[in-house]
Amino acid sequence: MTINEIDADVLVAGGGPAGAWAAVKAAEAGASVVLADKGYLGTSGATASAGTGVWYVEPRPEAREAAMASREGLGGYLADREWMARVLDQTYANMNELAEVSRYPFPVDDDGRQIRRGLQGPEYMRRMRVRVRRAGVRVLDHSPVTELLADGSGAVAGAAGYRLRDEHPFRVTARAVVLATGGCAFLSKALGCDVNTGDGALFAAEAGAELSGMEFSNAYAIAPAFTSVTKTAFYSFATFYHADGSVLEGAGSQRGRSVIARTLLTEPVLCRIDKATPEEQRAMRLAQPNFFLPFDRQGIDPFTDLFPVTLLAEGTVRGTGGIRITGPDCATTVPGLYAAGDAATRELICGGFTGGGSHNSAWAMSSGTWAGRGAARHAAELGGRATGRPVRALGEAGVRPAGPATGGHAEYVRAVQAEVLPYDKNLLRHADRLVPALDALDRTWRELAGTLRGEGAGLVRARSAAAMTAHARWMYSAALARTETRGMHKRQDLPEQDPSQRRRLVTGGLHEVWTRPETAALAVAS
């Protein structure tokens, strides 16, 4: 079998906004860069199909202060002001680059000034593809990374993967790797998220990196029933109803989502977007055309008709947990390994909650920028010393099982979904349900790690199944370790916030999962 062998200074895994910015900035710093995406740079990932509001705040001290203060409480006071300030600065710069370098067609206000607070997904990512290619980056589409490579010291030295369209494996030896593979939404079919199966976190853990904030992993988004469109902003203009037409009290898009979840466990929930004026209705169509696809294509008028809704799991895509960052350049605990976007923890800027947008996209472009530059610097420092160093592949579950190999990735996916998708396990958390769910996941892991191996494209699916299983175990281990309610992590059995737990939780391990506080409890905000 032919193997594509490529050498580069920096390999970027993932071509959403985080990976695209990382590739551009690494190349601008002088590195030779390869970007490999599971799908297609420009259409793949949550941003490309969804679009995002962006945390773009003018550099006026009062405006910045208000922006930072607005979410600290919701996030459970786990964010860090210094990181927030850096992200606000970097996001401002990148959005302005989008206008000036990529000529993104921002809308203009009545004074003719561009409004730079949001990005339409297809337009944004199409332009990022052009910019990445102009920067001289070699782009491998339909080329999921399946494992990392390390040198004798354990430093990350590249990655291996599979080219789905040409049907052959590839290997990139690199001086540094940026993981920008997105979060994990467990193949829930939430908009654009099925490529996001938490692969990067698995690769990182196999290399010895740590995760943080994995308890903040229960994002669920409203969608019209049976559809994929998890665009949620306009539900703030909605009223939710029981099937008999009576109002479902307390249900809402932001804070009333658990009411919707509880109700959905036993009966349908209906919705109507009945609080928008005709002018607002027209504006909605311009801002989010994709929001209307399920309605227009099923003959529903969402402003006058009642339609059933569901909640789709978005896991760590709109949660905040991910690979732990150890420095301003988005380094991890493993030399040569950097993380960005949803693959990395976003607790640094929004603690345990992201909810209605903006922070995630700001984090993706900022952390991508820093990780790309950091990786390029690391590569330059290594220089010729890395040439020809012996490397070994780090993958285990799904590629090198402990025992005799069999297939069966689909059953593992179903087993994991049965533990992470139900609202009464993941969203409405309680030790009585988390403990047995984690037991089941541990059993699934042991079996999978012992036997699962896929070949060809099946290797990619097997690794995704392993990644989802590992992700779910980190989530529930951290959820059990945080014996309180904070941010999006809501324990029905422990509904109060406990001041002694105001610190982040670090998680890791594959065969044995562990969790520890990152620091002692942080002082209460002044």
């Binding site: 297609y40 259409t43 993104y104 921002f106 409004i115 369209r165 654009g192 989010q288």
Partner: protein
């Protein structure tokens, strides 16, 4: 899910095969893409956005339909190519991004733009 590749409209440009994030399509013997892995479709509508001749239809339901919808009906209802039109892609159109000024979510605040 993706339901229709219009044999009449398709110009066999391979765009959809290239851009589909979940690798649903393969090139058919006659050049018209076939839905080899339809069950992997994530209902993201990206293939529709990129098809230059509006030959694709993605049903908003994220499960396959028992029968694909009728192409002539979809065309009559203006649904073939409607997403591409709404995002303002295609010659002579204004990019949707340029017009994307939505309502403000808290009435007094700034308008939503995505």
């Amino acid at each position: 899910m993706i339901e229709i590749v219009s044999r009449e409209r398709c110009i066999a440009c391979d765009k959809c095969i290239a851009v589909c994030p979940t690798n649903v399509f393969d090139r058919g013997a006659d050049g018209i893409p076939v839905l080899t892995r339809q069950s992997d479709c994530q209902t993201c509508f990206m293939c529709e956005a990129y098809c230059p001749v509006d030959a694709l239809f993605v049903d908003p339901r994220s499960h396959p339909l028992p029968e694909p919808p009728d192409e002539a009906d979809l065309a009559a209802e203006g649904l073939l190519g409607s997403y591409r039109e709404q995002i303002g892609w295609g010659r002579g159109r204004t990019p949707g991004a340029r017009l994307a000024v939505g309502p403000s979510l808290n009435r007094s605040g700034a308008p939503l733009t995505s």
